[in-house]
Point group: C2
């Protein structure tokens, strides 16, 4: 398995989603130039990225939409079932749990957990929220490879420790905190506040007329 640079890996998924949409739209062939237009990316970069997943393009023609789509699905493992537990059934947790878009890529949330006794026992979309005390045992027994943390920052590390101890392989972390995990565990931080912070910086440095300069703004 050829190593794929992280930025390229993320783009591969964008290509996959684009191809899925093109396929549903009845398109048979697509060129790197056309993909670049739709995704606002350099066609050369797209071609380069696609070399990480085998060769499919034909000079003068372009890429077969369905073939490339299937190849990407295989490479990214999007066709595999990925069972997961979700810990922290707040609004964000519920949003992720109920979002059908992830199921298309193989995500199956098979266990909901919370530490709040008023939530434990509630039924949500056919699943009963369990006490966090049962988390480790559940992961071990069901051999759950993926953990989703939508718990508050204060308890996120504790949750991660339980998951790791129970043998989980990957963590999707939405808590705004840097988790300490062994390096064989793969972790993805969706730190939404970072996005807000970068937009904040852009706003005050872009001369937006709708932002009222406090006193220090003049360049």
């Amino acid at each position: 398995m050829k190593k794929i640079p992280k930025p390229a890996l993320e783009r591969l998924f964008l290509y996959y989603r684009l191809l899925l949409s093109a396929h549903n739209n009845g398109e048979k062939i697509i060129s790197s130039v056309e993909m670049g237009k739709r995704l606002d990316l350099d066609p050369a970069q797209i071609r380069k990225d696609l070399t990480y997943c085998g060769e499919f393009g034909k000079p003068r023609i372009g890429y077969r939409v369905e073939g490339l789509m299937n190849e990407l699905q295989t490479v990214l493992g999007l066709g595999e079932r990925k069972q997961a537990v979700l810990v922290g059934v707040g609004r964000l947790g519920m949003a992720i749990y109920s979002y059908s878009g992830f199921a298309k890529f193989g995500l199956e949330i098979i266990g909901l957990f919370d530490s709040d006794p008023t939530k434990v026992g509630l039924n949500l979309g056919g699943q009963t929220i369990m006490n966090i005390a049962q988390l480790g045992e559940f992961i071990r027994q069901k051999r759950v490879p993926l953990g989703i943390i939508t718990a508050p920052a204060a308890s996120a590390q504790q949750v991660a420790d339980i998951m790791v101890d129970a043998g989980i392989c990957a963590i999707w972390n939405f808590a705004p905190v840097t988790l300490k995990v062994p390096e064989n565990i793969s972790i993805r931080n969706e730190d939404l506040a970072i996005g807000l912070a970068t937009l904040s910086w852009n706003l005050i440095n872009s001369g937006c007329p709708y932002i009222q300069p406090t006193e220090d703004e003049l360049d």
Copy 2:
């Protein structure tokens, strides 16, 4: 205003949040080594990043927690009020709207919009959900600098067009689609499915014992 590379800008926010926590914890001084330990980053990188926001460290001593925190707050504009509209009051939209963590960094969502007539008129946390037809006028009148899109992919571009036309300066996009906007508009895509896809790839390429060939999983 010195230009700040994007990855450095994102880390600056991590430093800010760390300092906020250290400050609340009563810490007065912190070194780049200590920050590196807590954030799992190279101390040299931290020192380098911090040069983008003025000089604060003292050799042999470290950084003054409060001073550096305040400086970062100013640089990132986190103390400024950032008024925003949110379009698409589904579960994710509600999660973002009701998350108090963003308010700490200056976010103020002052308008909720949806195209679903059964939602328009409902009251949510003191605000009435408005019809998307009023979006442009609202932005113009209130001079709203920031738009948050939590609408479905299919309508996201249309929403963005209205926002841009009304003079919005920045867009925080949660819809899984590449939006076309003029290049003077700053945009941040929080494409959560990318995270899932990278974890998916990691799972199938890391030899996770809890991941089995698909046929074993059928039941």
